[in-house]
Amino acid sequence: MNSTDFTADLDGKKCVKCEKDAKFTGVDPKKAWYCQECFIQMVKNKFRSALSKKKIYKDADARETLVVYDGSPSGAFLLNQIDDALKQITYKRLMVQPTVLVLVSVTEETEIQRVVERVEELKKELLENVRWFIAHVACSMYTDSVDLEGLRCNGTEKIPEYTDLLSSCSVPTYRKELERILREKCLQNISKSLKISKCMVPDDADDLGRLALDQLCLGRGGSLSPLVTVTDKRSDFLLIRPICDLSKREISIYNYLCAIDKQYIQFHTHSNTQDRSVQALTDAFIRTLEDEKFYSTINTVLSTASKIHNTNGKDGSRCVLCHVEVADCSLCSTCSAIRDSCSGLLSRFL
C-alpha cells in the first residue's frame, strides 16, 4: 500500500497532539490530523480504552480469552495488539491469557490446507507462547462440545451439513443473517468446549455500523446495543469487540505503518456480488454516503445504538438462536422468519 494514499489534502496541517507536520487522519479529514507517531498512539489508545472503560479484566479469575483471527486486516491488528500488550513490562501490560482461534470460512479443501500452512508460519512470528487452534465455522453444527486438535482445521467434517443448511435458506437476506448467527454459535461452542468464557472478535467500526443498520432492517432495533458495542454478555459467555471504535481505514494505516499487512491470510472466496439482500443494500448505502462526504455516518449510527435498549426484554429472556432479548417466546420474530425460510433443517438448534 502506498503511503501517499493516506496523505492527500495535507495543506500544511499540524498534528493535533504535538505540532509536528500532520500526515494521517482518521475517518473524517475535517477533524483531527496526526503525525505518524501520534497516529499510532491514538489507534493503540482506542483499543486499550475500549477494554479499560468496561473493566473487562478487573476479575483476576477470568482472564482466559479466546482471541479470534479471521485472516482480515482487523484480525491481524487485534492479534498484534494482544501480542504487544502482553510484551509490556510496565503497568500497561494487559492482564489477559489468550488462546488464538483461527476461524476459517472457506469450504474448498486446498484453501483450508493453505490456511493451516500459513498459520504455522504466523505462530512463529507472534504470540508464540500461547495455544493456537484452527476451526471451521461449520463447528457451529455441533450440538455437543467440540474436541479440538491443535494441528488441523477442526470441524471440516461438518462442512456439508453447514453448506446444506445455508443453501436451504431461500431468502438471501436471511441466508446472510443465518451465516452471522452460525458464526457466533461456532464461537460459543468452541469457547464452551475450551471452558473459556470470554471471546474477542475482530469486528471493527465499519462492520458494526453496517450490522447496526442491517439489524434495524431486520426488526431488532431494540437490541442494537449488545450487538454492536464493546461487550455482549450472555448467560455463560462474553463477546468482546475491542476494536469497535476503530475504522477499517485507521486499521489499514496502522497495519501499513507497523508492517502488519504481511500477516493477513487472503481467502479466495466466491462471494456473489449480485446478491439482492438487505446486507448488500446497506453496504451500498453506506458507501454512497461516504462518497458524498458524510464521513460520520458510521460513528453516529454506533453512538445512537449504544444509547438505546429493548422495551420488550423481561427477566433476561433471550432468543434461542440469535440471543437477542425477547418478550415472551423462545424465538424472536426475525429468527422465526429465518426458520420458516430454511425448510426444516434449522430445527436441530431449536
Partner: protein, 390 residues
C-alpha cells in the same frame, strides 16, 4: 400449442372469483380491484381499532364504534385532516370519510392545507385539495407560510440557497398545521404518513443520532401531552398500496415531487428504503417494529419539554425551532437553528439575554417578530399570530 396463462384468481378470503389484478405490496396477496380496496380499508380500520384510536366493540359482522369509553377520538369531535393534495393525504381524506360513513365514527372531518408558497408546486397541488373539498364535501381551510411567518418558501430559498430547505419547511409546516387545527377548532389532527415514511424516519433518526425522536417517531399517536394530539392511520400502509388504492378508486392527486426536495439528505434514506422494499418488502415493517422496540437507556440525558418563550409552542430549548429559524432569516444569520456554529451560538445567547420582553404576545411571544429587522414587519407578524389565538 401451450395454453396461455391468464391472471390468477383473486385470493380474497371471501371467495371472490374475479381475476386478480393487483399484488398487495404489504403481504404479496393477489387481489381484484374491489377486494383490494376493501382489504385496504379494513387494514386502516384495523389500525384504528388495534391501536385504540377508537374504543370499539365487535358486532357479529362489522366493527361498530362505541364512543362511551373513547380513548382518542370522541363522537362529534372535529378532526383536521392534513391535506397537501398528494397521494397520501388524498387517500387519507377519502378513507377517513369512507370509514366515518361505513362504521359511523360520527366525526366532524375537515381538510386543512398549508400553502408553503412554492410556485409551480404548491399552488398546483392546492387545486387538487380544492377538488377533494368538492368531491368529498369536506370543509377546507388553507393557511400560508406568508400569513403565519411573513416568509414564503420561495423567499426562503432565495435567501438561503438550495441547501437545508427541508429543515425550514418541515419545522414551519408542523407548527402551521397545529396553528391551523386550532384556528378551525379541531381537537385532533390526522396526517397521511405511510409505512415507507415511518421506516424512513426511523432510519433518519438513527443516521442523525436523534435518540429522543427515535424513541417516539413510530408512535401512532403523538403530542398527547400537548393540546393537539396527532394520529397516523396509514402508519402500516405501504406507499405502493396507497398509490394502487388511489388508482383503483380513481382519486385525483398531485404527484410532482417538491422542486426543492432533491437536495435533501433524506433523499439518500428514501432511496435506501425504496430499494429495501424491492429486495425485501418485510424490511419496511421491520424498520417500524425496530423503532417501536427502542427505548432510551436511563443513563442517557434527554431533553425536557418546555414552551417557547416567544410563541408558546412546545420545545426542548428556550425558543422553538421555528422562532429560531425566523430569527435567522430576519437577521440574515441563516445558519441559526440549522447548524452549530460559533456565530449562531452567540446569536442564540444574545436573543435569550436581550429580547425576552419582546414578541407579539400570542402565547407569550411571536415567531420571529421580535427579531425582525423592520419594525413594521414585526407588527404585522405579531398581528397575524394574535389573530390565530394560538
Amino acid at each position: 400449442m401451450e395454453k396461455r396463462r391468464g391472471p390468477p384468481p383473486c385470493q380474497s378470503k371471501k371467495g371472490c372469483s374475479n381475476p386478480a389484478k393487483i399484488r398487495k405490496a404489504k403481504d404479496g396477496s393477489q387481489l381484484c380491484g374491489p377486494c383490494f380496496s376493501k382489504n385496504f380499508e379494513d387494514d386502516v380500520h384495523e389500525t384504528i381499532v388495534n391501536n385504540n384510536l377508537f374504543k370499539v366493540r365487535k358486532n357479529s359482522i362489522q366493527f361498530v364504534v362505541s364512543f362511551s369509553h373513547c380513548s382518542f377520538l370522541q363522537r362529534g369531535e372535529r378532526v383536521a385532516i392534513g391535506a397537501s393534495g398528494g397521494k397520501d393525504s388524498t387517500v387519507l381524506a377519502y378513507v377517513m370519510k369512507t370509514l366515518n360513513d361505513i362504521h359511523d365514527y360520527g366525526l366532524d372531518l375537515q381538510l386543512l392545507s398549508i400553502d408553503e408558497g412554492i410556485k409551480g408546486y404548491r399552488d398546483d397541488s392546492l387545486l387538487a385539495v380544492e377538488k377533494n373539498r368538492i368531491e368529498y364535501e369536506l370543509p377546507l381551510t388553507i393557511l400560508s407560510y406568508n400569513d403565519l411567518y411573513g416568509w414564503t418558501m420561495d423567499d426562503i430559498v432565495a435567501k438561503i440557497g438550495k441547501k437545508n430547505n427541508c429543515t425550514f419547511c418541515g419545522v414551519f409546516r408542523r407548527q402551521a398545521l397545529d396553528r391551523g387545527a386550532f384556528k378551525i377548532g379541531a381537537t385532533k389532527l390526522v396526517t397521511g404518513h405511510n409505512a415507507d415514511d415511518m421506516a424512513e424516519t426511523v432510519l433518519m433518526n438513527v443516521l442523525r443520532g436523534d435518540i429522543a425522536r427515535l424513541e417516539r417517531c413510530t408512535n401512532i399517536v403523538t403530542g398527547e401531552e400537548g393540546d393537539l394530539p396527532r394520529a397516523k392511520p396509514l402508519k402500516y400502509c405501504f406507499e405502493r398500496d396507497i398509490v394502487m388504492y388511489a388508482r383503483t378508486n380513481q382519486l385525483e392527486y398531485f404527484y410532482t415531487e417538491c422542486i426543492y426536495a432533491p437536495n435533501a439528505y433524506r433523499g439518500y434514506a428514501r432511496k435506501y428504503v425504496r430499494d429495501l422494499e424491492k429486495v425485501h418488502p418485510r424490511a419496511i415493517l421491520d424498520l417500524i417494529r425496530s423503532g417501536e422496540k427502542v427505548s432510551v437507556k436511563k443513563e442517557v440525558e434527554m431533553p425536557t419539554l418546555k414552551t417557547c418563550e416567544r410563541c408558546g409552542y412546545m420545545t426542548s430549548q428556550k425558543m422553538c425551532k421555528a422562532c429560531l429559524l425566523i430569527e435567522g432569516l430576519n437577521t440574515g444569520n441563516t445558519d441559526l437553528g440549522v447548524r452549530k456554529s460559533k456565530k449562531s451560538k452567540k446569536v442564540i445567547v444574545e436573543i435569550e439575554g436581550e429580547k425576552k420582553e419582546e414578541g407579539c404576545g400570542s402565547g407569550g411571544g411571536g415567531c420571529g417578530c421580535a427579531g425582525a429587522a423592520d419594525e413594521t414587519e414585526n407588527e404585522e407578524t405579531r398581528k397575524r399570530l394574535k389573530d390565530l389565538q394560538f
